[in-house]
């Protein structure tokens, strides 16, 4: 298991030392979210109605933005070959990279989400559920997105392709995350959608590394 934490630690250190990546994702998240009021108008009840949906769609796009280089960078400098010959199987390597991506991209979104909650006039209790939905949802984004990142290693124009591959697979996470936050705003039961969101994450944890490992193996040929 030392391999797992070694990869996570290195990626986080690279992100911190590289600096700009996670900050830019955060800035994109806030900037894109505050554009909508210019489109739909600043009326509180409109913003409150679309708030959870907009925040989540923009969070999803932000998380996906930094995925393209997740494996391609290692492929280009030869690190992927060495990771594939390291003691740990490729599936563990994939899981470590996905968790590192979540720590450097998914988690920071949680910090900015309440700020956007204020911009969108969300009622008090909605903030807690918004954070809970992001806590349960963003890891799935990193895991599912990681499979997409592994698939496009070595492909031409990987960025656009990644969005086409991954966004349809993000729909279930988006639906249940926003359903939870909407539920608290319209006093409907929150538990069901949060439970399903957690179930999606529990399913993604074993399945995505399995698919991601298979995809990475193709990239080594």
């Amino acid at each position: 298991m030392s391999t797992f934490w070694a990869i996570v630690a290195r990626d986080v250190r690279l992100a911190v030392r590289g600096g700009t990546e996670s900050v830019m994702v955060l800035v994109f998240f806030v900037l894109a979210a505050i554009l909508f009021p210019f489109g739909v108008g600043p009326e509180a009840e409109v913003l409150r109605r679309i708030g959870p949906g907009v925040i989540w769609v923009v969070a999803l796009l932000a998380a996906m933005m930094s995925l393209e280089r997740l494996f391609s960078a290692d492929h280009e400098d030869g690190t992927l070959d060495l990771l594939a010959t390291s003691p740990a199987p490729l599936e563990i390597v994939f899981l470590a990279k996905a968790i590192a991506h979540w720590l450097t991209t998914g988690l920071p979104l949680l910090v900015a989400a309440p700020v956007l909650g204020v911009f969108y006039q969300l009622p008090g209790p909605a903030f807690g559920v918004l954070l809970l939905s992001m806590l349960l949802g963003t890891p799935s984004l990193s895991l599912i997105g990681g499979v997409g990142a592994a698939l496009i290693v070595g492909a031409r124009r990987g960025g656009v392709l990644l969005a086409l591959l991954v966004l349809p697979l993000y729909v279930p996470v988006l639906i249940f995350a926003v359903a939870g936050v909407d539920a608290v705003i319209f006093d409907a039961p929150v538990r069901p959608s949060m439970m399903i969101l957690a179930a999606l994450l529990l399913a993604a944890i074993p399945l995505c590394p399995w698919a991601g490992g298979a995809a990475l193996r193709q990239a080594l040929q």
Binding site: L164, F176, A215
Partner: protein, 244 residues
């Protein structure tokens, strides 16, 4: 590990497909004629929806085909990945555009059916929305298989995506159903298909089998074209080597 002698024999497939193609095409043609006859002439209009039900004879079979093609894609991809079988990859690459075509037909005829029924070209009904996402899964598969210089690499990546997609299709269907019931505006009744009474079954199944026949006809044609073009490439490489 697949060792040398257990390779697929493309030449054998060429002979097989050359013999099979006319039969499959012939049966498909007959099915189409029968299907259209039943669909357009021999069956009564629906008491509620009138003649728009004839759109259903095309809409529903192509919906079945769009799901069948994606399952075919996932199975062919899995066989290719496990046994490194070139014909499996080629049939997956041949089937993807056909599946996308059928899915496009479902969406187009669905909207043409929705307009007279609900006055709008697009209804965010659970089934239509799931088919819309399935359409993008197809586009993703086709784009990924063509995103690499080496076709074999593209086929394998697309095969993994097809497996991931196949696992996700039921999850997407479930979540879209949930989302649909959550946001069910009172006015738009669910796009329930018309009560299918017995007189509608013959055209429906005839058209479904006709589409299935069409799928295999096109599959054979596209695989043979793929094999021939790869043979041309192989001969060109050999000619280059001989010329050195």
């Amino acid at each position: 590990m697949a060792n040398l002698h257990r390779f697929a024999n493309p030449a054998q497939f060429q002979r097989l497909s050359r013999a099979l193609l006319p039969w499959v095409a012939g049966i498909t043609a007959i099915l189409f004629v029968l299907g259209l006859y039943f669909a357009l002439f021999a069956s009564p209009p629906d008491y509620q929806q009138g003649d728009t039900v004839r759109i259903m004879y095309v809409h529903v079979p192509s919906a079945w085909m769009s799901l069948f093609c994606y399952t075919f894609l996932a199975v062919a991809g899995a066989v290719g990945l496990i046994w490194r079988h070139p014909l499996a990859f080629m049939s997956a690459r041949a089937a993807a555009p056909i599946g996308a075509g059928f899915t496009f037909i479902v969406l187009a005829t669905g909207s043409l059916w929705g307009k007279p029924m609900w006055g709008t070209w697009w209804v965010w009904d659970a089934r239509l929305t799931s088919v819309l996402i399935l359409f993008f899964l197809y586009l993703g598969h086709i784009a990924l298989s063509r995103a690499f210089d080496d076709p074999a690499r593209g086929a394998k990546a697309a095969a993994v995506l097809a497996l991931v997609g196949a696992v996700n299709v039921p999850i997407i269907k479930f979540s879209v159903d949930w989302w649909n019931t959550l946001h069910q505006p009172a006015s738009v009744s669910r796009l329930a298909g018309p009560a299918i009474d017995s007189s509608m079954l013959p055209p429906l199944f005839l058209m479904a089998f006709a589409f299935m026949g069409y799928f295999f006809t096109l599959l054979l044609i596209r695989i043979r074209a793929d094999l021939a073009s790869r043979k041309v490439q192989a001969l060109r490489v050999a000619a280059l080597a001989a010329a050195e």
